[in-house]
Symmetry: C2
């Protein structure tokens, strides 16, 4: 990161940039660099022309093209939607050209955390009992059970258990019983059931829904056990009897789940979900690159970091294909990109419309500008694998999972893939929290951090005050180890995570 | 209904039928009618051939074609998926041919209920304070507020208020900011905000989502008032401050909402949502036609009954176009049917795949068989209007609203349209409940009613034991008046309605 402060209020991010970024609101007439006077009032995080830019000329930020001038731009002009447009321009994938072997530390030198070792050898950072639901029709019953368990004092006797949590959602019926949408939901449900942060799982259905629990068990050869039970409201005789019987099963699971204690586990068993939400003009220059450093450290320690949010790296996929382990991995990414073009077209949309109103208010003009900033979370190591939504992540190192950018849907896929901790960067200020994977929230700027201190775990805004991206990345990594070992993140303290299970819904609702 | 019992265990539904319906599980060898012996074991609610049916010959139930034999069927054979198929066959719309003027009772002869008269003249059957959410990112905060309000004892002083309820969902961002999907969500949110069962509404957002509260207010010219407030987590300074400020606003709303008392209101101000879920072979012969009678009585009393679930009347739309007030109303229905064909095709599906695994297990073989049974809920009066999903229902009498069949999504559209009471028929046994509109659940058969007594309000299974459809319809209508006047339905007693707000999601998740 070549972030040179031009003066107190603007940043030049790379030598070749023809724009500066405002480090605060700046009034017209302000001299923002030698010989450069601001012509209009521009908000915090927005771009200012550093020199004259002719119509059609590229806008350069991070040393890379983020768009093209749609009209002549004078030095000191505000640069945003009104004078910037996107063209399709040639992408050069250069598969695997920049892939380098990762020097993973020997296991005895790896950092460690205090985690829960599961019977199947995997490691958890939390120990919840989860109530999954096959359909919205069992959502209330699942909530009633979780609330009853939490309220009853039942948990007092089980000090190693973090809680009972219900995962409710809006789908599971009124959908095709096969095909893409059904496969996504199936993977998501079994992915959650298998997440190492759950010490026991009760799956509750209504009985007549499209997402048939019995068929699933048959298909996957799944057996009931003391830590995995299924039931339906129709078979159990209605709401009250289901709750009563469910609470009995939960009590049995609590006994089983409580037997496991935290022990020392190498950091290589951490699977980190990388996420951003409510991005702003600083996301790509503070929190995201700092999180990239933390991801690189985790990968060197043998762990796994999952970059996702395909629409948010759209237009910057060549940055990842170059880092792909081999051509196959790179091509799998491109295949997903093409799937997205088809998916959005089929739905009457297009792929260059991603920055939300909030993103734009925060200073991000084009999808390419946002993508370059978003991809920074992934650090710099070789891309070892590309997964579809909610697929089990089995490769170590830096990997990509295809998900929407929309936070709850994206993290749901990552957790289904096996993520046991989440790092979430935010500029505008997201209040997101997750169960069963704790979520660490990283503020991109100090004013938002100050304003939403009770929701933010780490301030990355001080990068603008001289803290290096490297130092900040090391701080994030230490926080990941601490939270993985049981330190509660801000969103856990606030009680988040019971309303954020949102499986990706594809296809007609019928 | 010409339901003649052939013996204790089967029903012939119409003179011309070539099938009988099992009124209980029947074993092979049983003589089910004169000279007719059952050839295989068949379950409750399923169909038995009353005579030989050749390949390609129609299967006739309700006196109407429900499918065609895919192989030769012998007398006493089980008739289901294995020997029945659907063809496309000509539909004859005969627009408005069967429309008849409805003799609405003079207002002084109309039945009445004890309801809440709103300042705008509309009438509610409940008096909730609702917390709407623009996006999943504010779901937890909305829940925390509703829980805090309910737990705090805050409500004790407000005896006329039914409670504080949060309406959370999985969408609101990661979506196109215009077009079909966005319009649906917009209508749904403002429809809930305007529902007469809400005495106050707080709309909470994150701040940076696609569904921008500020823009909406501008667009609709909506002003804040003591019973309508908006806020965002980002503007309020995070989770805790939002909850604190939100609870202050809720307290003000409770004071305002508590000022209204139940008063006598004509039944013409009831808007009834008709719904079925988890249908079985009896839905179309017991609960649905009985509900149709109740709908007819309500319409005669000047009220409104909304039939919905377009995919479930698919194939039987000619029954409705003939009853349409005029050609325009009939054509609007056909336009929606065509939209559905396009919607499902675009999503790689088709319109004849609707019976769910549960429906099939219950004895429904084809979409046409199910549609004919589902449409019976709509009674027999003239179809006065056709609405799109979540549009405000302004016409009185029998109307249709285009929704999916999936229960929570369908009722959400009906309540957004202004429904203030719901009647929900179920054969397999749904545990559905709704807020802010109370939901009355009607069991189609006695065994399920007995099994799920705590969830069912009325047993329509006794129609098989000799109670007439007309009597049952009158009983349902009386129950509607009682529940509208404050009697709590079973699902209200159980606490349902906080997890069943599911806006119809159309389009790509990005
Ligand atoms: Ca984002
Ligand atoms: Ca995101
Ligand atoms: Ca929900
Ligand atoms: Ca149904
Ligand atoms: Ca339904």
């Amino acid at each position: 990161m070549d972030a040179t402060q031009t003066n107190a209020r603007t940043l030049r991010l790379a030598e070749d940039d023809n724009i500066l970024v405002a480090a605060g609101k700046i009034e017209p007439g302000a001299e923002i660099a030698q010989g450069l006077t601001l012509r209009e009032r521009i908000p915090f995080g927005h771009k200012i022309a550093a020199r004259a830019i002719a119509t059609g000329e590229p806008i350069v930020k991070f040393g890379q093209i983020i768009g093209f001038a749609s009209k002549p731009i004078a030095p000191g002009d505000w640069v945003h939607e009104h004078n910037v447009e996107m063209h399709d321009f040639a992408r050069d994938y250069r598969f695997a050209e920049a892939a380098r072997p990762v020097n993973v530390l020997p296991v005895e030198e790896q950092e460690t955390f205090q985690g829960f070792r599961r019977a199947n050898g995997r490691a958890g950072t939390r120990n919840y009992v989860g109530i999954l639901t096959s359909v919205n029709c069992s959502a209330s019953v699942a909530r009633f059970m979780a609330e009853a368990a939490m309220r009853s004092g039942m948990l007092d006797a089980f000090g190693n258990v973090d809680g009972v949590v219900s995962f409710t959602h809006g789908t599971g019926c009124g959908m095709a019983a096969s095909g893409e949408g059904f496969e996504l939901l199936k993977r998501t449900q079994w992915g959650y059931a298998a997440n190492p942060n759950l010490g026991g799982v009760l799956l509750v259905g209504l009985g007549c829904e499209v997402f048939q629990i019995g068929r699933m068990k048959q298909l996957y050869g799944i057996e009931e056990s003391e830590t995995f039970r299924t039931m339906t409201i129709q078979d159990s005789g209605g709401t009250k009897k289901t709750i009563e019987q469910g609470l009995e099963r939960i009590r049995e699971m609590l006994v089983a789940a409580n037997k496991v204690e935290r022990e020392t586990i190498p950091a290589s068993e951490l699977t980190l979900a990388l996420q951003c939400g409510g991005s702003d003009g600083y996301s790509g220059i503070t929190a995201n690159p700092a999180l990239g450093v933390a991801a690189d450290i985790l990968v060197r320690n043998g762990g796994t970091a999952i970059l996702s949010e395909t629409p948010e790296i759209y237009g910057a996929e060549h940055l990842l294909t170059r880092r792909a382990k081999n051509r196959d991995v790179g091509e799998k990414l491109i295949e997903r990109i093409k799937w997205w073009e088809e998916y959005t077209a089929r739905n009457g949309g297009e792929m260059n419309n991603n920055p939300s109103p909030g993103n734009k208010a925060g200073g991000l003009t084009t999808i390419l500008e946002k993508s370059l900033g978003a991809a920074a979370k992934g650090g710099s190591t070789t891309l070892n694998a590309v997964y579809e939504y909610a697929e089990p992540v089995t490769e170590k190192g830096f990997v990509f999972m295809d998900t929407p950018g929309y936070d709850p849907v994206s993290v749901t896929g990552q957790v289904a893939g096996g993520a046991n901790v989440v790092c979430f960067t935010t500029g505008r200020g997201s209040a997101y929290g997750c169960k069963p994977a704790p979520s660490i929230k990283l503020a991109t700027n100090t004013p938002m951090y100050e304003r939403m201190r009770e929701d933010m775990d780490i301030n990355c805004g001080d990068i603008l005050d001289g803290v290096s991206v490297q130092e900040k990345g090391e701080e994030i990594f230490r926080e990941i180890l601490a939270v993985a070992s049981g330190k509660r993140s801000k969103s856990e303290d606030l009680g988040y995570g019971d309303s954020e299970f949102v499986p990706w819904q594809i296809g007609a609702v019928m």
